[in-house]
């Protein structure tokens, strides 16, 4: 590539001519290599995360002894048939089963149950959700449930570990 290299070298020497052309060819070469390298190493997949916790036996015992009625603790256990067994304690106690639809877990019904449960306790009641998988459940199933419960239960623990 040439970009007025000859004229620039001659005019630079004399200093009298105002027609000065910068030789851009080596700069373009460097840029091409750099851009190719950056494009090759760029990650076009945008990865996010859901934070979870693994409750240890000491945490489980110390956390609940202080004021057991101050928080709403929900345990969601995925069943082999796709149902979700919900049990809750603390500020309110009870249980419910979210029935699967077409053999798959009903994420919408799960989210609706958690939302209605949260409405039944005072507004600022802290809540924890513990998820327990089954032998048939997958990573996608867990992620779907965490995503659905995010608005009502931001703090999620993975139980049964």
């Amino acid at each position: 590539m040439t970009a007025g290299g000859d004229s620039s070298s001659s005019s630079r020497g004399r200093g009298g001519s105002a027609d000065f052309d910068l030789n851009l060819a080596p700069i373009i070469d460097c840029f091409t290599v750099l851009i190719a390298f950056l494009l090759a190493s760029a990650s076009f997949l945008s990865i996010g995360i859901f934070e979870a916790a693994i409750p240890t036996p000491s945490q489980a015992s110390s956390g609940k002894d202080l004021n057991p009625t101050a928080s709403l603790d929900v345990v969601a256990t995925l069943q082999e048939n796709g149902d979700i067994a919900l049990t809750w304690s603390g500020a309110k106690a009870g249980s419910q089963r979210v029935i699967a639809s077409d053999g798959k877990q009903s994420v919408e019904a799960f989210a609706a149950t958690l939302a209605s449960l949260k409405k039944e306790v005072p507004e600022n009641t802290p809540g924890t959700l513990e998820l327990r998988g089954s032998g048939r459940s997958t990573y996608t199933d867990l992620i779907q449930l965490i995503e659905a419960s995010r608005s009502t239960f931001p703090s999620v623990a993975l139980g049964g570990i």
Binding site: L38, L45, I49, I54, G133, Y139, G160
Partner: protein, 166 residues
């Protein structure tokens, strides 16, 4: 930039008939591209390069990934920081003794963190671990991997997902 006063034809052909390519605008484009790519490179807090053929589930409302030890679960096994530790066939671990190898790898990573933290007060030992799993990975396999991680001090898993448009 110097304003171009010459005509288009004059610019492309000098008096000797030699073709001179006008690359000033190309240099401008390349500069903008380079800045854009470098900016994207610099703002990525943490990078993840999933293995080929792996399908990470997509989700909305996920948080920004924080730098942590990476544990990848695929149908062919489990790797820690890109190093294969457990071999599996279609998510089935044939030899249960391999779990101790995962424990050893995680313990080594923890020890490395502690060594760095003891020498540099700005660095703290983290209990975070990023779990990058295939969407089809069964819960029993994940549970076992997380159990071994928790035993070695990694009690705060970050579950990786592909960000879906919100």
């Amino acid at each position: 930039m110097k304003p171009h006063t010459k005509s288009f034809l004059k610019r492309r052909h000098n008096s000797s008939g030699e073709l001179a390519l006008q690359i000033t605008s190309m240099a401008d484009i390349f500069t903008i591209l380079l800045i854009f790519l470098l900016k994207g490179y610099a703002t990525d807090a943490a990078t993840v390069q999933p293995s080929a053929g792996m399908s990470i589930p997509a989700a909305t409302g996920s948080a920004v990934m924080k730098e942590a030890l990476k544990m990848e679960v695929t149908d062919s096994g489990i790797s820690v920081e890109g190093v294969p530790v457990i071999q599996a066939a279609n998510f089935a671990v044939s030899d249960s003794d391999q779990w101790s190898q995962l424990g050893a790898a995680l313990a080594q990573s923890k020890k490395k963190q502690e060594n760095i933290a003891s020498k540099n007060t700005d660095v703290s030992v983290s209990s975070r671990i990023t779990l990058i799993a295939d969407g089809r990975a069964p819960w029993p396999l994940l549970k076992e991997a997380l159990r071994v991680a928790a035993e070695n001090g990694f009690t705060e898993p970050q579950l990786a997902v592909v960000k879906r448009g919100e």
